[in-house]
């Protein structure tokens, strides 16, 4: 496979995964903003996906303004509009490596988010309906990948991209949410706070089934970092990066493979042989910072050894 093609598939997949994360985050936070008017703030969401800048400062706590910025904001490089445009540009360059169904699906997603009705509806109508329309596009995408894409090298790059992105997102969300507790210790015992965190990761129902004693920060941490069965946990993402990377093994670039394999294995062990207690002893923020930098390291190494040919 061409290096350029591999890189495009990887990025296309990362962008779509990112859009999924953003949309779910927006949906739950919007619901949350309708629940707890007093203390609700969009700041963590903005921090995770856009960072602080002049423009985000101006948004303040205006839900509609924030959502418009995050969904259809032209000047926000991480708006759904912009990342899906990037995803589609990447797909356009590798059209003969993805199925026609998948290309059409991404194309529809792009035209849907570009439609001015989306922005208008965010301004005036029910934002949840808008977010649902877009979330459905992502689900269509994943269904189409699942049903139509061949199980070859290309899909491995797509999956590595997807799980790398997901892992980074989960780490960022945890880091931000737990970070907020330092400023506001009351949150530690605030049930809705944890509930919304779990909802935005799609892990609420699993949590209820696993833990009977209500919402505890430690349990949330355990589920989101260490639960092998939770599809948005950090360990789940890393296991899948490992699984799909193994399929790329090939004698003609064995040195590159070994190096990447080492990075992934090290990260996997770091998480696998951690416990809630060891993480707390080390300091959650420090632990997450290390995991994040190792995830980024894998991305860099892929770039150097598999994509940088181009």
């Amino acid at each position: 496979m061409l290096s350029r093609v591999a890189a495009s598939l990887y990025w296309l997949s990362r962008y779509v995964e990112r859009s999924d994360g953003i949309l779910r985050m927006l949906k739950i936070n919007y619901a949350s903003s309708q629940d707890t008017v007093q203390e609700f703030t969009w700041a963590p969401v903005i921090r995770i996906f856009s960072g602080h800048n002049e423009e985000t400062q101006k948004l303040g706590n205006d839900s509609r303004a924030v959502m418009r910025y995050m969904v259809s904001g032209k000047n926000n490089p991480n708006s759904i509009l912009n990342i899906i445009t990037f995803a589609r540009e990447n797909a356009r360059g590798v059209q003969e490596h993805i199925t026609k169904d998948l290309w059409q699906c991404l194309n529809e997603y792009y035209h849907t988010v570009k439609d001015s009705r989306i922005d208008n509806a965010l301004k005036k109508d029910d934002p949840v309906s808008v977010l649902d329309i877009l979330i459905k596009q992502v689900m269509l995408y994943y269904g189409t990948v699942e049903i139509t894409m061949e199980r070859g090298e290309g899909r491995s790059y797509m999956n590595i991209g997807k799980y790398l992105e997901r892992g980074i997102q989960s780490v960022d969300i945890l880091d931000t949410k737990f970070g907020s507790i330092d400023d506001n210790p009351d949150l530690l015992t605030d049930t809705t706070y944890w509930k919304h965190l779990l909802l935005s990761l799609g892990g609420y129902e699993l949590y209820l089934k696993t833990y009977r004693e209500g919402f505890e920060a430690e349990n949330v941490l355990e589920q989101v970092v260490l639960n092998n069965d939770f599809p948005r946990s950090v360990i789940y993402s890393v296991n899948h990066i490992q699984r799909y990377f193994e399929r790329l093994k090939n004698d003609s670039n064995i040195d590159d493979y070994r190096e990447l394999s080492f990075y992934i294995g090290r990260l996997q062990s770091n998480i696998k042989y951690s416990s809630v207690k060891s993480i707390k002893d080390e300091g959650l923020h420090q632990f997450l910072t290390q995991i994040r930098s190792q995830l980024y390291g894998i991305g860099d190494a892929l770039n150097n050894h598999y994509f940088a040919n181009s």
Binding site: M1, L2, S3, R4, A6, K74, T85, E89, R92, G93, V94, Q95, E96, K100, W103, Q104, N107, E108, H111, E153, L248, N250, S252, N253, Y306, F307, N309, S310
Partner: protein, 481 residues
């Protein structure tokens, strides 16, 4: 059966061959379609037109126009009413194109080797040497099977009496074939059951034939040679076509930056290292192909590719330097080439062409400029043309000055009145001018032409310019069995 209003309103243009309307009645080969259409209301047709637009959009059959930093997706205008060609007409056209292409291939071989045609005084030497697309780099370079033109798009038009004329030969990187294929797919959706009812011949073989031909050109005798399609990239207006063809043939779509030349061999950069490339179907123009030999500023090409080509380690399709054969000044000599190389009378006529570097012909053209179309010999896309009958005196004077600066760069042809076909617009059927570009594929087994082609339409009333860059659209093109 009741005839819907929009048919009775159809009025052919005076003095123009109408593809649908004969003397006072509908031609036989259009009757089934008209029956079908007359059962649909004007609203049905409007809905079909909407559906066609939506299908093009959702399938991403679009090109992007960049304005104020924002990309706007556009579709090439598509007219839903098919253009129909009878079996007899097609047999004639097919025979004529094959003959013409045979002669053109022989001409290219000759002109880059012994130049007999020049020595025998058929084609003047200055016409060839003054053509910017005549490339000395190709001199005595042997190409596989002596085939230079593997893919040709021959533009045909019909005069007022229905006679076919060749308007121009496109022998470099003719485009539009994906629209031939996609237009047909859209028509299948718009008019269920109509294609089999009318016994329309299929065009789907095109990518298979092309692939078979590309495969046969591999310099390495191996079971699975690497074939790539070289595209300038996603910002090229024909990019959709490049991906469509790559997908339909199952070959790798590459850009210049994906290729590298080492020891006179071309390789592509893959995730597991370099992989040798055997055949390149390139959609990058000659001058951008190799910065070491041609335009040094090009980043679309591959440094050293010309060396690999010359060594015979890679096959390039179409051959480099074909522009000398589809130059508009050389065009005038194609009928002579057919006689010279094949000892046959040309089947398809040329449009009479005046060479403006010939003083007598130039004066004749200037005296009759209102009846002339003046073109640049190396222009394309309908740019830089002067339509004498539709220009102001001032435009004509300016153009004359341009011509006198370098007369070799211009030719003139009498205005040929293109044939017209019905188009659906403003809620009714109206005649609009059309041309026809069939795509001929030349391989070691001979020339094959899929029955069909691209029919381009001048959508503006009264316009004779069908180029998509000048407000032209396209139609599905049916060849009946």
């Amino acid at each position: 059966m009741q005839e819907s209003g929009y048919f009775s309103q159809y009025s052919p243009i005076d003095g123009v061959w109408d593809e649908m309307y004969g003397v006072g009645n509908i031609r036989d080969h259009y009757s089934k379609v008209i029956d079908y259409l007359s059962r649909e209301s004007a609203e049905d047709l409007a809905r079909k037109e909407e559906l066609a637009k939506r299908l093009f959009m959702s399938q991403g059959i679009t090109f992007t126009v960049y304005s104020s930093g924002e990309g706007i997706e556009k579709i090439f205008p598509f007219d839903i009413i098919p253009r129909i060609i009878t079996a007899d007409e097609w047999a004639f056209v097919e025979k004529g194109i094959k003959q013409r292409l045979n002669a053109l291939n022989l001409f290219l071989k000759d002109v880059y080797n012994n130049q007999f045609i020049v020595k025998d005084g058929i084609v003047p030497i200055d016409i060839i040497y003054s053509c910017p697309h005549f490339l000395r780099e190709m001199y005595q370079l042997q190409v596989p099977y002596d085939i230079y033109v593997h893919i040709a798009g021959i533009d045909l038009i019909r005069d007022h009496d229905g006679t076919f004329y060749v308007l121009e030969d496109n022998l470099r990187t003719p485009s539009g074939v994906s629209y031939m294929l996609e237009n047909r797919e859209i028509t299948k959706r718009l008019f269920p059951d109509l294609l089999p009812q009318c016994a329309v011949r299929s065009v789907t073989e095109y990518p298979n034939i092309l692939y078979k031909n590309l495969l046969s050109l591999s310099p390495r005798q191996i079971s699975n040679p690497t074939i790539v399609l070289l595209s300038p990239g996603i910002y090229n207006s024909a990019y959709f076509e490049h991906t469509t063809l790559a997908r339909l043939m199952g070959v790798e779509l590459v850009e210049g930056r994906d290729l590298v030349v080492k020891n006179q061999k071309v390789y592509m950069k893959t995730t597991i290292g370099l992989q040798q490339v055997d055949v390149i179907y390139r959609r990058v123009d000659d001058e951008y192909l190799d910065p070491l030999v041609f335009n040094p500023a090009s980043i679309l090409g591959v440094a050293g590719i010309m060396g690999a080509y010359r060594t015979g380690n890679v096959a390039i399709v179409n051959a480099i330097g074909n522009g000398v054969a589809d130059d508009k000044a050389v065009y005038a000599y194609v009928p002579d080439m057919i006689k010279y190389y094949l000892n046959e009378e040309p089947i398809l006529k040329n449009v009479p062409t005046y060479q403006l570097n010939n003083r007598d012909e130039r004066e004749h053209v200037f005296a009759n400029i209102n009846k002339m179309v003046v073109k640049k010999t190396n222009g394309s896309g309908g740019y830089g043309m002067l339509m004498g009958h539709a220009s102001t005196d001032e435009e004509i004077d300016d153009y004359k000055k341009e011509i006198l600066k370098d007369p070799r760069n211009f030719i003139a042809q009498p205005t040929i009145s293109l044939s017209a076909a019905p188009c659906y617009m403003q809620g009714g059927l109206h005649p609009r001018r059309i041309d026809l570009r069939p795509y001929a594929l030349c391989g070691p087994d001979g020339i094959e032409i899929v029955p069909g082609g691209l029919t381009r339409v001048a959508l503006k009333e009264g316009s004779l310019v069908v180029n998509s860059s000048q407000g032209g659209g396209s139609k599905d093109t049916w060849v009946l069995a």
